[in-house]
């Protein structure tokens, strides 16, 4: 009886060890013949390649570690924007899918069927190579919203220039803390005395007023730097100043958002449909208004169904952002697993680090979502 339990485990272990041993041995041998030594010392060496788009200061004289950081931040940036946009779009489409209006319902389901059945890579290529290439050259670009330009070289918009930015940030954090305590206080009052405050309005007021106050007393001040057309050569123009968003980022965000939103929309629909009709009717019969029914009865329950699969979609979006490499958006894969590896030839270390990074991101997001999920789960007494 005991042997029956030990034997399979023993063989599994042996199998794994043998494979790992075989691989390690070969890797050792191969590296010896090529004269490379396993190690991460190369991270400190000078990278000597340029990166088109970077959130932090970077140039070729900095180390590979710095290049890695640039790539990682670019990956996080596109994932962050994508997650926010696809959540908004997905929620709208998901609700539209259940609309009593036939046209809206059909349009929403057409959108979902259309975008989810086309490979994401093809969509990225489409936006980058076909759609965005049809935009005007910088010198012919029309003015948008009075100050921005949408050109073939990217989107140019005024950039804020802050004075005493840290004071402003501190006031934002302070506002959030005040709002947190205010909400706690309002909750307590409601439970004890049944008195209701207009929570949302007051919170919004605090959030706007407190940072606004710093403009008067904190010495914070904000000016805008506008993009200005500049001639580089006879026929080559570009914009200077302002905030330039490269077309790679736009194409990638657009494709990721439109693709992932279809899945989130289906989750939202399933979540709302998963709530029994009786819940709505019961809530209405005790005199709640339709908006209260949605806010207090439907959404808290629907979220429990929606969140776990949506977390998966967030993870997918983050992983899919690695397709950036195909259109040369300098994300982690392109900068590190692409350029850096070509230069150093350290396949094992670099692919290992890249994979470990994605694993860490995935595990972090799923841990955070698990925590959130637990918080809103039914508290059974």
């Amino acid at each position: 009886m005991k042997l029956k339990k030990i034997l399979p485990q023993f063989f599994t272990l042996l199998f794994i060890l043998l494979i790992f041993g075989f691989f390690t041995m070969n890797a050792q041998e191969n590296m010896d013949t090529r004269g490379i030594e396993f190690g991460f010392g190369f991270l400190k060496q000078e990278a000597s390649f340029d990166i088109q788009f970077s959130l932090i200061d970077y140039d070729g004289s900095m180390s590979y570690a710095r290049a890695y950081l640039v790539g990682l931040l670019n990956t996080l940036l596109v994932s962050f924007i994508g997650i926010i946009l696809c959540t908004l779009l997905g929620a709208v489409i998901g609700v539209a899918r259940l609309s009593p209006n036939y046209l809206i319902r059909k349009t929403a389901s057409f959108y979902i069927e259309f975008f989810r059945n086309i490979p994401l890579l093809l969509q990225i290529f489409f936006w980058y190579f076909a759609a965005l290439r049809a935009l005007p050259m910088p010198e012919d670009a029309p003015l948008l919203f009075g100050s921005s330009f949408m050109t073939i070289k990217g989107f140019y918009t005024p950039a804020p220039i802050w004075n005493n930015f840290d004071v402003f940030m501190i006031s934002l954090v302070l506002a959030m803390i005040v709002i947190y305590f205010f909400n706690k206080f309002a909750q307590k009052k409601q439970e004890e005395e049944g008195k209701q405050y207009p929570k949302f309005l007051i919170s919004l007021g605090i959030f706007v007023l407190l940072p606004a106050l710093t403009f008067i007393v904190g010495g914070v001040d904000l000016t805008w730097s506008f993009p200005v057309l500049k001639q580089l050569a006879l026929t080559s123009f570009t914009y200077e100043g302002g905030l330039g968003i490269p077309p790679e980022l736009i194409a990638l965000t657009l494709a990721l958002t439109l693709y992932t939103a279809t899945f989130i929309a289906e989750n939202v629909r399933a979540g709302i449909q998963g709530i029994g009709k009786g819940q709505k009717e019961a809530a209405a019969s005790i005199g709640l208004t339709p908006s209260q029914v949605l806010k207090l009865v439907i959404m808290p329950q629907a979220l429990r169904i929606i969140i776990p699969p949506t977390t998966n979609q967030y993870l997918n979006l983050t992983k899919n952002s690695s397709l950036a490499a195909a259109i040369a958006y300098p994300d982690l894969v392109l900068v590190f697993a692409g350029t850096a590896m070509m230069q150093t030839g350290r396949a094992i270390e670099i692919v290992g680090i890249t994979m470990a990074t994605y694993l860490t991101i995935s595990l972090t997001i799923s841990l955070f979502m698990n925590w959130y999920n637990k918080r809103i789960a039914i508290q059974e007494k």
């Binding site: 070969n26 191969n30 992983k319 694993l359």
Partner: protein, 423 residues
């Protein structure tokens, strides 16, 4: 005749209101079309802002006039119930109708009316619309990649044979039905592999040898997805069982295997197979690129399949296990005869989604230099004779992938209904 209040639609003057409403609605649409496609503004005497919104205002007023409950006309009642319940809904409906007209008309122009279908060079495309000549000229490349034109019958024959073999399962005599799983999981992959090896790859029986680097286009998409699908299913099943095993070594090794592949993007896995994997093999051994790619995709998708199957295993009530055990069944018998047949039925939609994701992931193999449909498009796009037709190419590939994926998902939905057993 009693006096009629035009702002209060009622049932007594039904015909009048329906005609008036339809008139206003059509006026709104007409105004919009004139504005958009002919550049004429029939309401230009109004201030600019109001003139811009006249289509919506006319349309909404028209819909308001026909909003008469229980009119007795079926069509009108249906219309009111579905798109015209209140002012807000009416506004949304008009918005959608305008959006549809706004987007369909130029698309139709581009696709068909202004498009070029006849010719065999870039010069034939003079119209504003799509240049389908481009697709026509490159069609063979998009389907077969760099595979020599004279040998393409081999690819076609192989695919037809494999399809026939796959369909053969339906016509098995009842007596042999129990071997069906065996046929699909073991015999079919082996035969298909041999077919592909001898027929597509060639090199024997007087057939010219074609290296895998020359394979490409849509046929490569099919080859890669076919083998990955066939292999990832049994591996995923083993992993799912392993993850629910009582033996801790088996359990945790399956768990970490699954979590590892699920935590990394496919593109890094392909990078690994391209640059890291050769380092792990003895010096001088060479594994074909295509095989490396298929192994990488298989392992990657097997982890996802495992999680889907695990969901099905967990959904089975405990009683099924207990009942099977009480009949004296061992681990394998219990799973093969009782648990898996039921669990797999439950997870058909999930498995189909994983397979769909796999098909949609195949374009990624460009990372290792294999060019399937999307890769070939990117190659064709850079051909100096055919510059500037990327839009046609992507639209063409999009339509093909859409048809494949959409029909797969519809098929899985029909399977789901077919195998739905009530408990």
């Amino acid at each position: 005749m009693t006096n009629i209040n035009l702002l209060k639609p009622n049932k007594e003057n039904l015909n009048l209101f329906v005609i008036l409403g339809a008139l206003f609605f059509c006026l709104g649409i007409f105004d919009f079309c004139l504005n958009n496609f002919y550049g004429k503004n029939i309401t230009s005497f109004l201030p600019g802002f109001i003139s811009f919104f006249t289509p919506v205002i006319f349309g909404m007023f028209g819909l308001y006039l026909i909003r008469i409950e229980f009119s007795g006309i079926k069509l009108l009642d249906n219309l009111n119930k579905n798109i015209n319940t209140n002012n807000f809904n009416a506004a949304l409906s008009i918005g959608i109708i305008i959006l549809i007209i706004f987007s369909v008309a130029p698309l139709l122009n581009w696709f068909i009316l202004d498009a070029t279908f006849i010719g065999d060079s870039k010069e034939a495309c003079t119209g504003e619309g799509a240049c389908w000549v481009y697709i026509k000229t490159w069609f063979n490349r998009f389907m077969y990649g760099m595979y020599p034109n004279a040998e393409q019958w081999r690819v076609n024959t192989t695919f037809i044979l494999v399809l026939v073999l796959m369909g053969a399962g339906y016509f098995f005599p009842l007596r042999y039905k129990k071997y069906l799983t065996f046929y699909y999981v073991i015999i079919l992959p082996i035969i298909s592999f041999l077919l592909i090896y001898y027929l597509i790859s060639g090199g024997e029986f007087g057939l010219e040898w074609v290296e895998t680097g020359a394979w490409g286009g849509l046929s490569l998409t099919f080859i890669v997805s076919f083998f990955s699908l066939i292999f990832c299913f049994p591996i995923g099943m083993m992993l799912a069982l392993g993850r629910r095993s009582d033996l801790s070594v088996v359990k945790y090794s399956s768990l970490s295997f699954i979590e590892f592949w699920r935590g990394v993007p496919l593109i890094t896995v392909l990078f690994m197979s391209a640059v890291m994997f050769p380092m792990f093999l003895p010096d001088g051994t060479y594994v074909d690129k295509l095989i490396r790619v298929i192994v990488a995709i298989t392992l990657f998708e097997a982890a996802y399949t495992a999680e889907v199957i695990r969901g099905g295993l967990q959904a089975l009530p405990r009683g099924q296990y207990d009942a099977a055990k009480s009949l004296g069944m061992g681990y394998w018998k219990l799973h093969l005869l009782v648990i898996l047949p039921q669990a797999l039925k439950l997870v058909i939609p999930g498995i189909a989604n994983t397979f769909l994701a796999l098909v949609k992931d195949t374009p990624l193999i460009f990372v290792v230099g294999l060019l399937e449909l999307v890769g070939m498009l990117n190659l064709a796009k850079t051909n100096p004779k055919w510059l500037g037709f990327s839009m046609e190419g992507y639209v063409f590939a999009g339509i093909i992938f859409w048809i494949i994926c959409y029909s797969m998902s519809k098929y899985s939905q029909s399977l789901e209904l077919k195998y739905k057993t009530d408990r």
